[in-house]
């Protein structure tokens, strides 16, 4: 249970949150037309006669969009409705050429499911919470109005008109901004694993309507408001926080929360009223007579099921149990499907190079990826997707560490050079002469020189100041430009100092 509370003058309040997430389905063409769906195309360059609602044009369902929505439903353990139907939601707006949106009100494609979130990412062993999903249905997106192109007119871009969306409706199961954020992150993660939505919130391919109400703990639900089209996890959390605060203040000042649609202003970090229930449209939903009910057969469902990848929870579990990763590492590496793919390619390549099992190398690889590569990329302002180092390249570096060619500290230098030049680890080590020295003669000479130059410290060490051992190691390594085999350096030093 969340113990998130809003402090009011009359005591503590609890916030109740439900999210309706609109996720653009990854598909080559639109939900009911053959027009393309690529982001960022010239305005009105991806518009079919159907999308422009020319007279006599008819929608034909796109099988791929239905398939992706079904796979998404399966990924959240939801009931798939083998019989569903499209309805028209009627309203007039310039970005809605048909004068109605084809959606699913009465008989959605996907019924109840759920997903599990970890309440505190920093405490992966900590408690989890199951958030209910009420339904997932598919519907058409609208076009886009541009108000800044002409002094008195608005322009309409219909590229997005008719693009397939999944509307994923949660139960009002969340009780804090953190839970709402965790739910949205987890949902995004699953969509990206399934491949049904790219999850690019900054491009609008995923956005959330945030339903918020407040109540005294234990009391019935309060009146909710719906804040539309919030397009980042951070903003969703901010909306919950500010809207809950607003509602508490309003109620405590003797006001009443009205059921209404609100808009979030990220600059001011507040929400403002868009329209109240009184001005709400009467959408006159009715079954779309241009479309027959959607009936899914078992073969289609089996194909959807068979095509599902390993999902984040299962992967995380496998990383912990089969690969022996820490819960933290497993959590970090499975949160995003691209990271997991990168990691798995790294482990496979490293295992192949070493001729060892993946389980033997996975832990080291995960540590290197998380603490070395992520850190280095972060400094460069890059992510894994645009990393100059490939999993193959990373595996080469790990192999050099494993076989003693370079030390861990030299490996950091090598990685920096790899990122800088794009060259392979082996070539860099060779070119820069970074190979670790296992020549005991050279090590002994270096040690002798260090001990001779620090006779006073040698005396102190022999008097019992053991901590100076590290100093001698450091000096020796420095003298050898880091290339001395640390084990051998230790061995030689111990022998000479005893």
């Amino acid at each position: 249970m969340s113990n998130y509370r809003i402090e009011g003058t009359t005591g503590e309040w609890e916030v109740v949150i439900g999210l309706e997430v609109h996720a653009q389905v990854t598909s080559q063409s639109k939900l009911f037309s053959g027009a393309a769906t690529a982001f960022g195309a010239e305005p009105n360059s991806q518009v079919s006669l159907v999308d422009a609602a020319m007279p006599g044009m008819l929608p034909v369902p796109n099988r791929e969009c239905i398939r992706q929505a079904v796979r998404t439903g399966m990924a959240v353990g939801a009931k798939i409705n083998k019989w569903s139907r499209f309805d028209r939601k009627n309203y007039f707006y310039a970005d809605l050429p048909q004068g109605y949106q084809i959606s699913q009100l009465y008989h959605p494609l996907v019924g109840e499911g759920s997903l599990e979130v970890i309440l505190d990412e920093k405490d992966p062993e900590g408690s989890t919470k199951t958030i209910g999903i009420e339904r997932i249905h598919v519907e058409q997106d609208a076009g886009k109005l541009m108000h800044d192109q002409h002094p008195t007119m608005s322009y309409v871009d219909l590229n997005r008109s008719g693009v397939a969306l999944m509307e994923i409706v949660s139960r009002p199961d969340m009780r804090s901004p953190a839970e709402a954020g965790a739910y949205l992150s987890k949902l995004r993660s699953i969509l990206r694993y399934v491949g049904s939505c790219d999850g690019n919130m900054d491009q609008g391919s995923m956005r959330a309507d945030v339903n918020v109400s407040v109540r005294k703990p234990g009391e019935p639900f309060g009146t909710r408001t719906e804040t539309k089209n919030v397009n980042s996890v951070r903003f969703v959390m901010a909306v919950v926080e500010s809207e809950a605060r607003r509602q508490v203040d309003l109620i405590e000042d003797g006001g009443t929360v009205v059921q209404e649609t609100r808009l979030y202003d990220p600059d001011k970090n507040t929400t403002r009223s868009m329209r109240s229930k009184e001005d709400a449209h009467d959408y006159r939903y009715f079954p779309d007579p241009d479309l027959l009910p959607l009936e899914l057969d078992d073969a289609f469902l089996e194909d959807c099921k068979a095509s599902l990848p390993e999902l984040p929870d299962a992967k995380r579990h496998r990383y912990e149990t089969a690969l022996g990763l820490s819960a933290y590492n497993a959590g970090v590496l499975t949160a995003d499907v691209e990271t997991a793919r990168w990691f798995e390619a790294l482990v496979a390549a490293a295992a192949a190079k070493a001729g060892k099992g993946e389980a033997e190398l996975a832990k080291q690889a995960s540590n290197w990826l998380i603490s070395e590569l992520f850190g280095a990329l972060n400094k460069l302002g890059k992510g894994l997707a645009d990393s100059p180092v490939t999993p193959q390249g990373g595996a080469e570096l790990l192999a050099l560490i494993a076989d003693g060619t370079i030390s861990g500290s030299i490996a950091k230098q090598v990685l920096e050079k790899m990122l800088e030049t794009g060259d392979g680890a082996g070539a860099i080590v060779e070119r820069e002469g970074l190979k670790q020295t296992t020549d005991t003669g050279a090590i002994e000479a270096a040690v002798d020189a260090v001990l001779a130059a620090n006779a006073d410290k040698v005396a102190q060490y022999k008097d019992g100041k053991d901590a100076l051992f590290g100093f001698f190691v450091g000096q020796t390594m420095k003298a050898m430009q880091g290339k001395g085999n640390p084990g051998l350096v230790n061995q030689v030093l111990k022998a000479k100092l005893s």
Binding site: M54, P55, G56, V60, N90, G99, V156, R284
Partner: protein, 494 residues
Amino acid sequence: MTDLTELGVAAIRDGVAAGDFTAVEVAEGFNANVAAAAALNTFIVTTPEKALDAARATDARRAAGQPLGKMGGVPIGMKDLFATRGVQTTAASHILEGFTPEYESTVSQKLWNAGAGMLGKLNLDQFAMGSSNETSYFGNVISPWRRNDGGNAPLAPGGSSGGSSAAVAARLAPAATGTDTGGSIRQPAAFTGISGIKPTYGRCSRWGIVAFASSLDQAGPMARDVRDCAIMLEAMAGFDPKDATSLDMPVPDWEAALSGDLRGKKVGIPREYRMDGTDADVLASWDAGIAWLKDAGAEVVDVSLPHTKYALPAYYIIAPAEASSNLARYDGVRYGLRDLPDGAGLQDMYAATRAAGFGAEVKRRIMIGTYVLSAGFYDAYYTQAQKVRTLIAQDFANAFTLCDVILAPTAPTAAFGLGDMVSDPLAMYLNDVFAVPASLAGLPAMSVPAGLNKQGLPLGLQIIGKAFDEQGVLNAGLAIEARAQFSAKPDKWW
């Protein structure tokens, strides 16, 4: 030489193929008749060059020894509800006046592919809403028929395919396309002494036909006789992946299987269709039809369609509901009329455009449809109407366990005078009472001429068949046609 414009589809096709005359001669003949018939106001746009181009192509194919197609050399009229590439397509509305599509409807394209040519775009009730062709923005179509009382009162050609019926009856075209939502092929065919068939819902693609009520709209042919209807329907029908409600079934060779021999067939006579207010001449023609079908070898059985009386009210909920949504796209934003008063915002533009662009009947139906779908009324109207629709389909399914086809009048009256009904929409709606049930059930149904009433006006008989059994309908129609020997045609006064 025979007047080529007295020929129907089969005779033209066969004559052109045999070299008895050229397709160009045929097109020229009909073009001349069209040009001379402006008084009937059947066409919104004439396209004589298109008819000639298609005819020349047919003649060239013949000269080259190539196949001419099912409609080779036959010029036709195209109801102005079908989108035709490069030719204005209006649905007889002001809001689409001047709209010239860059696409061709599936059905019209199939007809051109079959060798037909286009004489022009035919007038109709605006957005196919009407039973008298009095709701067109481009004026009433005048029926070529007149009563034999010497009064010369202008008569309705029926609707909504009134331009189609009048053009075929007046020999302006050997055939024309129609669409039927609640009788819009059958009733005008009956009013003008021609044949017309609405096939099973889904036989003809709706792609490119301006939508009225999507779950009911079906295209079909209107022609002089049953054989011509069979030929043209073959050219129009077929699965279309662009229409999700299209039937994925092969198109039978209806013409080849035509037979007026009904031995072994049962014809059902629905007792609920004997309604008060039905014209005595209409009832007499029905009885004649029963006798003809018996003569053709059929056994006549009594059947019941108990929910018939709810069909019309259900239809006038479902069709306007769908229309109110289908017509939302005519908003002045992308094409067609835009009325943008000074300083108007988006909502003002919608209101002004739609107020100016739609006629009274269209507005009436949009308002009815909006009302029956609105919150609080949806279940009482729309949901109930859908239940009735299911019951009506069930009525037919039950009846068809007892018979192969059903015989009924097409309309309760012969053609009425223009203006006689406009002040009473409900009376007008009642004219579709026999036509609407088959539409709600999606069944094939056709009207064939049965004779003239005492005023010298044509009466039609309706044959309703099982789903997908257009053949049974056409064959029963042929049996009636052979016995009715209907040869009357309107005296040319225009």
